[in-house]
Symmetry: C2
Subunit: 149 residues, 2 copies
Amino acid sequence: MEILDLENFLPYRLYRLADAVSREFAGIYKDSHGLTRPEWRTLSGLGQHGTMTATALGEQSAMHKTKVSRAVAELERRHWLTRTPDENDRRVEHLTLTKAGLAAYGEMVPLAKAFERGLLAKLTAGERAGIINGVAALEVALYRPVEKQ
Amino acid sequence: MEILDLENFLPYRLYRLADAVSREFAGIYKDSHGLTRPEWRTLSGLGQHGTMTATALGEQSAMHKTKVSRAVAELERRHWLTRTPDENDRRVEHLTLTKAGLAAYGEMVPLAKAFERGLLAKLTAGERAGIINGVAALEVALYRPVEKQ
DNA sequence: CCAAACTGGTTTCATTTGTAACCATCGAAA
DNA sequence: TTTCGATGGTTACAAATGAAACCAGTTTGG
């Protein structure tokens, strides 16, 4: 019987690595501010782009709309963002960070960057380049071939 | 204010990629047999190693013991594995796939391998090498530096 | 011996997630 | 216009998850 070596199976390795990295990184938004990952991504998206709709947020940060919806609701509850109705389309709301939201964002960004730097610093230049464009290539590969349903 | 480019932030990219790959791959165990990821990993671990304890399974496949426990319970319910009490330590059980479990495993392995091959086939040799040892290097990096409490 | 600390594994409970249904609004076509 | 399909966003419900408590059974140290 043919067997599969899980330890060297790419989907598994990738997931395990991403999970481990993500768990480590979560310290920055979870332990210090009690944010979930969707909340962090929402904050991050708005911090980066200024104002976005929920749909745009979902696309930018690869989250399902229910995750976005819930994350936005929680950040609003904290008064970290506000909603402004669109003038032409009453279904749409534009989301913007408040001062408090921006402050939290501004505080976390340097930590996030330091985290990434710390990680990459342990690799050789070749390994860094390898993983960075390996990831990019795989993403392209994944979305080129099997167009989903 | 300093901003973070989420799209190029390694933890995010890595997670998004792993998630996408994992979702695609799930078709092989979920859509066809209704397995969850922990159940698939359990099946895979036992298929590969023959007989293991729950603890060993958890280590091998990076799962929390509750996940293992539940996955084992479900596979047992399907009669895909059996438990044999350890002779010396009555806390321990040795898990083994039944004929039915092995059959399912044997059916999925070629599909899993084909999936991985298909993915890697879309990369150049350099990209393949890059990502493979980039992942390995990152894992080492992650577990070397910040020894968790 | 016996208590205390530890280990393998399960269960409970709260939180997070995914799916699908839903509501409102909008745009296009009849 | 009216109707019908798409779209922005929320909600309800079921399933998956994580943390911590738990129940054996085992080891260690006094």
